[in-house]
């Protein structure tokens, strides 16, 4: 049973990097390039975990978290924020919005996989 990841990021580069490190670790990888598309994809893909960027056009990462946590299709699927900032207030804000965890860019593959494992129980 593979674990499905949905990554939402407007940077093609970051999406590609996530793809190689996660497919390499045995995850099934899906991606979207902004918040609106991400929320749409969520309903289609039904992922086991979501990774989202914060700064995105059309709907930012906070918008994604709030929609997934309190929209019509509320979900408790883990949502990980991928961000370049490591400021405490950003984490607090993400957590209050309903994020499960965060990963700081640039991520290294091992840590990323380890965080995903910790939140999904995915076995490598």
């Amino acid at each position: 049973m593979t674990t499905k990841v949905l990554a939402i990021d407007d940077s093609r580069t970051i999406r590609n990097l996530l793809r190689i490190s996660l497919e390499g670790a045995g995850f099934e990888f899906h991606s979207a390039c902004d918040g609106v598309e991400g929320v749409e994809q969520f309903a289609e893909v039904e992922p086991d975990v979501v990774i989202t960027d914060i700064n995105m056009p059309n709907m930012d990462g906070f918008g994604v978290i709030e929609t997934l946590r309190s929209g019509p299709n509320r979900t408790t699927v883990p949502i990980i924020v991928l961000t370049t900032e490591s400021g405490a207030d950003l984490k607090t804000r993400a957590r209050e919005a309903g994020a499960t965890g965060w990963i700081v860019k640039p991520f290294d593959d091992a840590s990323l996989v380890s965080v995903l494992r910790r939140l999904t129980g995915h076995m490598v």
Binding site: D10, R19, P106
Partner: protein
């Protein structure tokens, strides 16, 4: 997909982001209060930073970070957009582009300007912004302990640290579950650190009918024996901090451990006051649609498909073959001299049209808007203005005009040069402009449009116009023109295109680069285009570049030269003349001129110049094609006959055989034969230069517009 190819796509993406950045900055200038634009600019810089971090491009990261931090202050309305700040943003964008390029080519960026701009950006930052100098080293603390480094059986390799025993009390709040956490997974992570015993506290369980599935009633007491330090335990609970009651103590006589939060974390300090959630960046749909409507664009980018260029080029080649094949079939059927078969003719006609449609469709794939090219010029204008101490702005018109990708690529250099020239030589200094009653800021106008199957690109300035007296003086000084020659205004203007011509009275930073307008002219000619000049004193100068839409197909006359079939581009032909004996005059021993509407035009025998005929033909035989050449002005090319006018598919001679003087390319005709495509300019040059006869009033050079 390898990391290397991702690196390539990162730089591709940077190009797009830098374009978006330039575009955003110019919109910001129009309307600094449009937060959508500010957000877009911020995101562009931010995405470059994020990607650059992944490839450890530290210099790029730290510059982007400073840039982004200042932009963020604008975004949060702490900082007002002033003219100097806008100017700094533009230069920061240029510097960012330079850093990206340097990273891509693995060369050193321009450290001097980088330092200068960073210093200016820093000037907008308070102390609080600066103390977190941005580096990506410390952030690994944010990751949970990577169990990867721990041996499976819990024994750390090498030195055995002393085992310690921790006592953990953990009571989740409902928010912990709502945020997608699962206690079991946390315990699994703890179990990886050593020996774990967990006891669930069920005392909070209510009666079954009072059970609230959204509540959180369970708590756990855990005992962990591990050689890991306490910070690692905190890292495991990092994400659930403030979503649970958590108490970690080291178990040696119940001494509560000092809560040493890992650096860079809020630790267990009282949670900060609830934050005001400002409106998320996503505007409501209605507002967004309104904003988009104002900007006149469809909402969201249209879906696109990225295709390898090689595939498109293969397709273009095949379509070329198809066109040739269609011509062959038509010709074969003609040769059969069938009785009039209306059906067949109709079907053939349909086949021809279909082939043309396919060709146009394929060509459209390669077409790209000139917008990115034009946007790049805004930087050139800025830099040129700065270097010359002038004030200039760039206005672009028709930047959605689409042109073949190769044409765009090859236009970049000539266009850069012309824009630079327009600022350097075209515009006057502000005080001179003011004295002439003009606006102090000069305007450089770039426009692109499609007209009658060609692309027109204009580079105009509203400067002083060409100083024709000075140009002529200069040309005579350099020995390019005889002093007694009488030249028309447009001929004087065209002197600019002669090799070795430069009008700058003093060599400024910009001129003296060893590139003259002649290079521009050649680059444009290589694309099958031409350049012309229009200038009026006091009002400015406009250069017009006319280019064919595609590089693969051309309209040509099929002609015969010394019994060989050849093709000559129609674009270069002004008119065809059947010469009558009385208009032809011999000049000297070899030269022939023809009187065309009162002007004498030299006649050039194409066969002779190509070395295909040694004996001169009887004057008056054949057909003359009047062409305008750069080296000789109006010239009449003598050929034996014109057979046909048709579109031909251009095949490179250089890549298939070798360059031949006087011949630009080749094509395959309907009968399968190869025909050479002549380059009139070069054919004329093959002749030893004809002496200049000042006694004959040269014809007025009329620029022929297709």
């Amino acid at each position: 997909m390898s990391r290397n190819s991702i690196r390539d796509t990162f730089f591709e993406e940077c190009e797009e982001l830098l374009e978006a950045l330039v575009e955003g900055l110019s919109s910001m200038e129009q309307d600094p209060d449009d937060m959508d634009v500010v957000n877009a600019v911020f995101r562009a810089v931010h995405s470059i930073k994020g990607g650059a971090g992944a490839f450890a491009l530290d210099r790029l990261v730290s510059f982007a970070h400073t840039f982004e931090t200042v932009m963020d202050k604008v975004r949060s309305q702490e900082l007002k957009v002033t003219e100097p700040l806008m100017h700094l943003f533009h230069r920061s964008g240029d510097q960012l582009a330079d850093l990206v390029e340097a990273a891509r080519d693995e060369r050193e960026p321009n450290a001097e300007s980088e330092a200068a701009i960073l210093k200016e950006l820093d000037g907008y930052l308070g102390e609080a912004d600066k103390d977190e100098s941005f580096s990506f080293d410390a952030v690994t603390l944010d990751f949970g302990a990577a169990p990867v480094e721990i041996a499976e059986d819990g024994d750390a390799d090498g030195e055995e640290a002393a085992l310690r025993s921790f006592h953990i009390r953990f009571k989740p709040s409902p928010a912990l579950y709502a945020n997608g956490h699962e206690p079991l997974l946390l315990f699994d992570a703890l179990a990886e650190l050593g020996e774990l015993r967990a006891t669930a506290d069920l005392s909070g369980l209510p009666e079954f009918d009072a059970f609230d599935p959204n509540g959180a009633v369970l708590a756990w007491t855990l005992r962990l024996e591990t050689s890991e330090p306490e910070t690692v335990l905190h890292e495991i609970f990092e994400f659930v901090e403030s979503l649970c009651e958590l108490d970690i103590r080291e178990h040696d006589g119940l001494k509560p451990s000092p809560l040493a939060p890992p650096p860079d974390l809020p630790g267990l300090a009282p949670p900060p006051a609830p934050l005001d959630f400002d409106e998320p960046a996503a505007a409501s749909d209605a507002a967004e649609l309104r904003a988009d409507a104002q900007r006149g664009e469809a909402r969201g980018p249209r879906p696109t498909l990225r295709v390898d260029l090689e595939r498109v080029d293969r397709l273009i080649n095949t379509v070329g073959e198809l066109i040739i094949n269609q011509a062959m079939i038509s010709q074969r059927i003609e040769e059969l001299e069938l009785p009039a078969v209306a059906h067949l003719t109709n079907e053939l006609e349909a086949y021809k049209l279909l082939a043309r449609d396919i060709q146009e469709g394929v060509m459209a794939i390669r077409a790209q808007p000139v917008k990115p090219l034009f946007q790049r010029m805004s930087r050139i204008v800025r830099e040129a203005a700065e270097a010359t101490g002038k004030k200039a702005r760039l206005v672009t018109v028709g930047d959605s005009t689409e042109v073949d990708k190769t044409v765009i690529e090859r236009l970049a250099d000539p266009l850069t040069h012309m824009v630079r020239n327009a600022v350097d030589h075209g515009l006057e200094k502000s005080d001179v402009r003011a004295a002439a009653g003009k606006e102090a800021i000069g305007t450089i106008r770039l426009s692109a449009s499609h007209r009658s199957g060609s692309v027109f690109i204009e580079i105009g300035d509203d400067g002083a116009g060409l100083n024709r007296a000075r140009i002529l003086e200069k040309a005579i000084e350099k020995g390019l023109v005889l002093p007694e020659a009488e030249l028309s205004e447009s001929e004087i203007d065209n002197l600019l295109f002669l090799p070795g011509f430069s009008t700058a009275s003093e060599v400024s930073n910009l001129s003296g680069r060893g590139v003259g307008m002649d290079v521009v002219k050649n680059a444009v000619a290589a694309l099958g285009g031409r350049v012309s000049i229009a200038s009026s004193p006091g009002a400015g100068t406009t250069f017009t570049i006319v280019l064919p839409l595609t590089l693969a197909v051309m309209d040509g006359f099929v002609i015969s030269v010394a019994d060989q079939t050849m093709v000559i581009p129609i674009a270069s032909i002004i008119e065809t003349i059947r010469p009558s004996q009385r208009d032809l005059h011999a000049v000297g021993t070899k030269g022939v001129v023809i009187l065309v509407r009162g002007a004498y035009v030299p006649v050039v025998d194409v066969a002779f110049n190509l070395g295909l005929a040694s004996a001169r033909k009887e004057a008056g035989e054949g057909v003359l094609l009047l062409v305008s050449t750069e080296s000789q002005g109006l010239t009449a090319l003598r050929v034996e006959a014109i057979h046909d006018q048709r579109q031909v598919v251009i095949k490179s001679l250089e890549s298939n055989y070798a360059a031949i003087p006087g011949v630009s390319a080749a094509t395959i005709l309907g009968d399968g034969k190869i025909a050479l495509i002549l380059d009139p300019e070069e054919v004329v040059k093959l002749q030893p230069a004809a002496p200049y006869f000042p006694a004959i009033t040269p014809p007025k050079l009329e620029l022929h517009h297709a």
